[in-house]
Amino acid sequence: MITRFTALLLVAGAGWLAATPAQAQVDTVRASTLPPAQLAEKYYNSGVAKFADKSYRSAIQEFDKALAAKPDFAKAYYNRATTRYELKEYEQAVQDYDQAIKLEPNGFTSYFGRGQARQALNQPDAAEQDYTKAAEAKPDYAPSWYYRGDLRFEKGDFKAALADFTAAVKADPNYAYAYHDRASTQRQMGNFAAAVQDYDQALKLQPELLSALLNRASAKRRLGDLKGALADYSAYLAKRTDNAVAYNNRGSARFEAGNYKGAVEDFSQAISLNPEYAFAFNNRAAAYLKLENYKQAAEDASRAIKLNGSYAEAYLNRGHAREMLRDADGACQDWRKAADLGLESGTAYANASCE
């Protein structure tokens, strides 16, 4: 479901594939027009071919030779950088992009590529700057906007992210990922109806983008459309049954709908897919509380706490379970711990029920 950016080898004349999230370019030069003396270009094209075969190490060697023959060969730097990115050698990729930019300061592709590499190096601010340069140089290149939007989303600057995703879909109206992430941005801003609309659009453009189904379900839940949410979750789970998050979410929706037994089933499924999934343990504890199975509830909450020692909600829920199990002291301890971890309701419960 999550498509990582893929470097695409471009033979001259090829364009973008709009539906894919982003394409770094590996430029090529038409081989048939090569003059006999152009040794560097020959190596270069050989490198491009090796890249296409995913023989990245060999490709690097070819680009090395090309650069040895022609040290100001900007495209060779660019392609070597892109190849290194594929090999996850991000620092060296950044160095090569630096060279390419130095030689060709007006191209946008190197900025974009360096942005990707810096993002991989977890330098979001530097990456954001590169995307900005790329977007300035070529505003109709949608991925620059898209990736900058994601970085801004992650910073929590949803307003700026929203503008970026809007620019991305303006540059490329078939950009499903951009619709998807704009939907998520709307959702974070509390605009659930707008979020549902954008997820709809993303799914229309790319029906196999299943995360849109999952996220649309959550947005519908927040809109109070439990029925619609459950339908989306189930549609997702009909296609993919290996995602613990999806089961955890459907379980939560079932919980909200008062179907506590169904919720327990979903949380159990999530746990069997990911035995370390603290959320699912905590949520199953919540469902057991509703089913008045306080012993199981306390056990599950304990499992969640064992997986995450600072899990405030799990302490709170275990407090509720312990109260009903007549362990008043234990309950008070848990509520106070939940309060220490930032849940105000913990204080309220402790004040009302503890000595």
Binding site: I2, D150, A286, A352
Partner: protein, 715 residues
């Protein structure tokens, strides 16, 4: 019948006598037999197939010719039981052992099953009636004209609401039948009770109901618990075989009532012991109420149709109970009462007819006043009985039992709050606190966390037992966590910050202030007067005394008042504390031990109830009471010379603080002079921040340091 039972059931019996006879004889039921016959026939025809073999087995030689001895004995038992059963008034519980013996010999006699069912209906184990009544009906649908009514009762008392309604409907007399109106009314009331039960049971109260444990409960009946506001002491009534005087009551065969007391030790109650004379006597002595501080008790005495008495705790000994007087005790039956938290008013129950809204009603009276007791009115009192009144230490929340309102049967416990000049609509405390049977004499702690009442339950130590109710409050919603993979190009999910709103927690609005008063020098407990003053109005609201033996005191301070607490005793300087409890302040318990100082040269006393405007040296009007106390002290002790001193915390400039504290001290001295105190007896000083009594590092510490003090210079 013991007084407590009588208090509960006398009316019930009277009422049933006027409608349904309490005995099984068919006197006055001609209408019913006429009504019942065809219906019963239809029913027995309908029931023919599964119950074709069910037929009443007579206690006759034809059936038991092979066991003449057994038959003779069974007939003897029935005869003995009948004597109790047909007595006036009937003694159902005493008839039961005989009947049950005969039942062992022949369990299939319709008449005997009916009588056992009827006895159980009128016993402490009402729910046990149902199986016998159902069997009686199965054996002979026409065994008694009241069959459907009795089945309705049996089902009702087992909380089988819908089935009970069906039986009550079958028992409904046709319009125009003899006594039809009254009977219809009664049945309609019962049906309404079942409907209330059905509704209340759907949303049970979130409580734990626990046996109060072996420290309190015995194999004998234990009931009518009363507690101090902080639940440190419980007093209750019990009918044990070590009863004072050791006699049994001829009518019931039970021991006479005595009052027992137990103290809390940790989470348990310590072993209860009976109070000595003069409280416990050879006759019945029953608990009714206890002041929040546990120093004043109300008891019930059988005199004069049932009267209320009170006694005080002096050290460890209760004084001789005194009648509450004619404004409270009429010739009618006064059975229950509760003090207001300031001890000035009494809420009590009486069935005196004058001004009554029907049956027993709740009244309020100023104990030391002259006015007549006032009926609490139709918001609280109904045409049916009200009983077991209890005023919470917050002074506005009343708990009481009623047969009216939306009771699910018999007396149910209700709660009403006095706000904006009227009582709120009484709220049924709900299932499982309330049951189809009588639920009465409920008390609740100041914190509102625990209630106490008596009940007959299967997990009891025997007979009626005292139970503790733990109120859990509204359901505590669990919290879920979800996350979503919000960015299509990212794998890491984003946690959703969906937070369920915290539910409002309703806690009672009262502050309990308690502690021990001692002599500052000898550290010995001290009996002292404790005045609770409304500073705003400069009015003494209530006066209490600390216990002479333990020095303990407890005052309940309902929210919404700036309180001055003045502790005084002859030969000691008064001690003042300030408790500003704003309106809406939630429950809290403050422990404050107070050491009184003898009037000696060099002794210092903090005047906690002198208030100044912020950063100014103008006295606020709430200070008047404290200043008047100071004037009184100086007038009473003509040789007394004092220094008034002002102190500040360490916030701000030292010179400024010194000046401010000095100005403030001077203002107090000036005030005293205007009240005629000779100038030469008074000096003033401002010490600024130089004499802290607590670290200035906390808010509380700084508050303690900002103070006005006086020091004895000469006496």
């Amino acid at each position: 019948m013991p007084p407590v039972n009588k208090r509960r059931f006398a009316l019930l019996l009277m009422k049933t006598n006027s409608t349904f006879s309490a005995s099984v004889s068919s006197r006055g039921f001609s209408w019913l037999s006429r009504l019942m016959l065809p219906a019963a026939l239809v029913l027995s025809l309908l029931a023919l197939s599964p119950n074709a073999l069910a037929q009443s087995v007579e206690f006759s030689k034809d059936r038991f010719g092979d066991n003449k001895e057994g038959l003779k004995e069974a007939l003897r038992d029935i005869k003995a039981g009948d004597q109790w059963y047909n007595a006036d008034p009937p003694k159902y519980e005493r008839a039961l052992p005989n009947y049950l013996e005969a039942q062992k010999f022949n369990p299939n006699n319709a008449q005997l099953n009916l009588k056992i069912g009827d006895c159980y209906l009128n016993s402490g184990f009402k729910s046990r009636s149902l199986s016998y009544l159902q069997k009686a009906f199965e054996l002979d649908a026409e065994v008694d004209p009241r069959m459907h009514y009795l089945l309705g009762r049996g089902l009702h008392l087992n909380a089988k609401w819908a089935e009970a309604i069906a039986e009550y409907k079958k028992a409904m007399p046709p319009a125009g039948a003899k006594n039809a109106l009254g009977l219809q009314q009664e049945l309609r009331k019962k049906i309404a009770e079942c409907e209330s039960g059905l509704a209340l049971m759907k949303k049970p109260a979130r409580v734990f109901i626990d046996n109060a444990g072996p420290g309190v409960n015995s194999s004998f009946p234990d009931y009518s618990p009363v507690i101090s506001a902080d639940e440190s002491v419980i007093l209750f009534t019990s009918r044990r075989d070590n009863s004072t005087g050791g006699q049994t009551e001829p009518e019931s065969g039970g021991f006479y009532e005595d009052i027992y007391q137990s103290s809390r030790s940790g989470k348990q109650w310590g072993a209860a012991r009976a109070l000595n004379e003069p409280v416990n006597t050879d006759g019945h002595d029953a608990t009714v109420g206890l002041a929040p501080d546990g120093q004043r008790m109300l008891i019930y005495v059988e005199n004069n149709g049932g009267d209320l008495y009170e006694c005080d705790l002096r050290g460890t000994k209760w004084s001789k109970p005194q009648t509450l007087g004619r404004r409270i005790n009429s010739n009618a039956h006064e059975s229950s009462a509760s003090y207001s938290p300031d001890g000035r008013f009494l809420y009590f129950v009486s069935d005196q007819p004058e001004g009554s809204l029907g049956s027993r009603d709740i009244y309020k009276v100023e104990i030391e006043g002259k006015g007549k007791a006032v009926n609490l009115g139709p918001g609280i009192n109904t045409p049916y009985g009200e009983e077991g009144v209890f005023m919470h230490p917050d002074g506005k929340t009343m708990y009481f039992s009623s047969e009216g309102h939306n009771s699910m049967g018999g007396y149910d416990i209700f709660k009403s709050v006095y706000e904006n000049g009227k009582w709120s609509k009484p709220e049924n405390l709900g299932w499982p606190i309330n049951t189809p049977d009588d639920d009465v004499f409920f008390v609740i702690s100041a914190s509102g966390r625990h209630g106490y009442y008596s009940s007959i339950r299967e997990d009891g130590q025997g007979g009626k037992d005292i139970y503790q109710i733990t109120f859990l409050g509204p359901e505590k919603p669990p919290m879920l966590s979800t996350e979503d993979q919000l960015l299509a190009s990212r794998v890491a999910p984003v946690k959703e910050t969906v937070l369920a709103a915290a539910v409002p927690i309703s806690t009672t609005q009262v502050t309990i202030l308690k502690g021990v008063v001692t002599d500052a020098e000898t550290k010995q407990p001290l009996e002292a007067a404790i005045d609770v003053v409304d500073n705003e109005k400069n009015l003494v609201i209530a006066s209490f005394r600390s216990n002479s033996q333990s020095g303990r005191y407890l005052v309940s301070l309902p929210s919404g008042i700036n309180y001055g607490i003045v502790v005084r005793q002859d030969g000691y300087l008064f001690h003042s504390e300030n408790f500003d409890v704003p309106a809406g302040a939630a429950y809290s318990e403050v422990v404050k031990d107070i050491a009184l100082q003898r009037l000696d040269v060099g002794v210092k006393v903090v005047l906690n109830n002198i208030f100044f405007d912020t950063d100014k040296s103008t006295l606020r009007k709430e200070s008047t009471g404290e200043l008047e106390r100071l004037v009184a002290l100086l007038n009473e002790t003509p040789k007394l010379r004092i220094e008034i001193s002002g102190h500040t915390d360490n916030v701000g400039n030292a010179a400024y603080n010194q000046q401010l504290s000095q100005n403030r001290a001077k203002v107090v001295v000036d005030y005293l002079v205007t009240k005629g105190i000779e100038k030469g007896r008074l000096t003033f000083a401002g010490y600024g921040m130089t004499q802290p009594v607590a670290p200035n590092t906390t808010k509380q510490g700084r508050q303690l340091n900002r103070r006005t003090e006086f020091k004895v210079l000469e006496k």
